[in-house]
């Protein structure tokens, strides 16, 4: 890969490794706007890991520099530029929005600073050398559910999703495993105008009229709250099972949905009640530190800190962005609250997926849906 002379001279943090001194890690997360709640989860997950490890990653003192991703690709890009060029961080974690990660891709690739992203991961983000994700690719929650619903539904399934890129990714991912497994669709899939749709009644009427035996939907944030409550208000809950990628009931939205969410089935790579050693170290500590149950967003950030911990240690004597990046590629098995996982060649996890059910206002793991990402 070619780098320009300009890039090499003015960008890198290549002022060499200050032996044993603190390392600077940038956290690029929303501190304002619509995505602030997600940003808080991610920041808390990362900080918890560092706190649990004596303020160190790879044996080095850590200085965390927080930059506000904001709501748009532009605000995210400006914050990333500041971390890379002004703060000269060793590595960056975070990034909520797909638009941001697409916008900062070239910045990280060209300045050769590793971005260990812990949320945004659009299907279109491929062929990168310095960008890693500890979350999952956007179409994977749908992929994880397809075969299961095809076997369980006992009839046609109605697909409905927010009309933007992530919604389309999820639906395509779902169909890629649902149709080959013999699943039947109840009519055409429906994309609701996003974020304009607040009243889902007409779509709920359509679902009722379609004769569907199950519904697969994709919503997140405020729309997830509206959809779930109206699904209950118009009498569909308990009549037609509702399946979705996990964000439908993850984090703050679950509180907003209240009992309307009970019985909803979702697929995700994490559930706060998973029974494994790493989760025993993570979930109770998170709950007691922040007073809310751990989410997949917090967990992926905790893992991002863990990846950096191992990589900085492996980089040993010469801790530079490039040596850390090379070490991430060889980091191997991550002992995570979600179960053990590894990076694949695309820089995203090969990991287990779980079917979860909302019971009394909490997501509970029901069964494993198999591994994806390989």
């Amino acid at each position: 890969m070619l780098t320009t002379a300009c890039g090499g001279a003015s960008l890198g943090t290549g002022d060499g490794d200050q032996q044993g001194g603190p390392v600077k890690i940038g956290l690029l997360v929303p501190q304002s706007g619509t995505y602030k709640a997600l940003g808080d989860d991610m920041k808390q997950g990362f900080e918890l890991y560092v706190k649990q490890h004596g303020g160190k990653l790879g044996g080095r003192e850590v200085q965390i520099v927080i930059a506000d991703e904001g709501e748009t690709a532009d605000s995210g890009k400006a914050a990333a530029e500041k971390l890379v060029k002004q703060d000269r961080v060793l590595a960056v974690s975070g990034v909520v929005s797909s638009a941001t990660i697409n916008g900062v891709k070239d910045l990280f690739e060209n300045s050769r600073i590793p971005l260990v992203g812990s949320n945004a991961s659009p299907t279109t983000l491929t062929g990168t050398k310095y960008i890693w994700r500890t979350s999952y690719v956007n179409d994977e929650p749908g992929k994880a559910l397809g075969k299961y619903i095809a076997e369980k539904a006992g009839g046609p399934v109605f697909l409905i999703a927010a009309g933007y890129q992530a919604g389309k990714d999820e639906v395509e991912g779902f169909k890629s495993t649902f149709l080959p497994a013999g699943g039947k669709l109840a009519g055409e899939e429906v994309y609701t105008p996003f974020p304009a749709t607040k009243n889902f009644q007409p779509y709920l009427a359509q679902i009722e009229n379609s004769g569907a035996k199950a519904v697969f939907c994709f919503y997140a944030g405020g729309a997830a709250v509206d959809f779930v409550k109206q699904y209950r208000d118009f009498g569909l809950a308990g009549k037609i099972p509702l399946y979705a990628p996990g964000f439908l009931t993850e984090g703050g939205v679950l509180k907003g949905q209240g009992e309307a969410a009970d019985g909803i089935l979702t697929a995700l790579n994490y559930s706060a009640d998973l029974d494994n050693a790493a989760n025993k170290q993570f979930a109770p500590a998170y709950q007691s530190a922040y007073g809310v149950p751990a989410t997949t967003y917090a967990m992926a950030s905790w893992d991002a800190a863990q990846v950096l911990d191992k990589a900085i240690k492996a980089a040993g004597g010469t801790v530079t962005p490039e040596s850390v990046n090379a070490a991430i590629a060889k980091v191997g098995d991550i002992d995570s609250p979600r179960g053990t996982w590894q990076f694949n060649s695309g820089g995203t996890p090969v990991q287990p997926w779980y079917l979860r059910e909302v019971k009394q206002g909490a997501n509970t793991a029901v069964s494993e849906l198999g591994r994806l990402g390989g």
Binding site: G33, T34, Y35, K36, A37, G163, E188, V190, T192, P193, P195, A196, T197, K198, N199, Q201, P202, Y203, A205, Q206, E208, N209, G221, G222, V225, D226, K229, D233, F234, G235, L236, G252, V253, G256, Q257, G258
Partner: protein, 292 residues
Amino acid sequence: MTGWLDGNLVSVVDGVAFGLLLFTIAVGLSLVFGMMDVLNLAHGTLYLAGAYVAYALSDGSVWGLVLALAAGALVGGMGGAALTFLTRPLARRGHLDQAVLTLGITFIVADLLAAAFGGEVLPTDPPTALRGTVDLVGHAYPVYRLVFIGVAAALALLVHLVFERSSLGALVRAAVADRDMVRALGVDVRKVLYGIFASGAALAVVGGVLGAPILGPGPGVDESVLVLSLVVVVVGGLGSVRGALAGALLIGQVQTLGVALLPEYAPFLLFGTMLLVLVVRPNGLIPSAVRT
């Protein structure tokens, strides 16, 4: 086929509920713009404030809702007075200055509300007595939305009677048509005009209190409400109560029945309808007789 038919009948009923919600919000915007010539882009923020009032005061009882309505009317009256005060220096400087000022106010208030209530959607449940569903031609329909239709229809009738049938309404219309004449009769015209602003704002906040279980409070709700209100005002015709009602009911049906019948055109239905109405009737369905 019967399932198809009565499924859409539910959409028609829901369209009435949604339309009356839009009327409650938009009629104030229409009157303030139509009569006082003030373009108030902070109107959606008034709705949002009302929805947060409902969230803060709803305790599951009907009294909680009544209390929230009273608090909402008070907040609305004060908000209207504050907006009149702030827009007064710009009265002769045209709509652009008013738009910039009121838009600035929306940003500030939205940030303050987000700081107070957080960045997430906080759905508000109706009082316990009004939860649950009733059977509507074989389909479940939320009780609260039916109650809402009744309350909002009464509110619409009241607004109509006050503005178009009472002597107070006659005074208001006279003050808009010929300020100097009304002033010569010894009436404080400024107070009359402030009254329009305050009651328009109070209606929007009360709409927020009542509408919270349908369009809950959260960042961004103010913008979507403002856009819908502007569409209603443009479609219905500026400054007339009946126009606002006609526009609101039409848009309500477009957003429910229209979307149910033509889901693939959902993103274009709203503005397509507006375009169609404006081509046929450039001044809206029922424009105000006073101003034109």
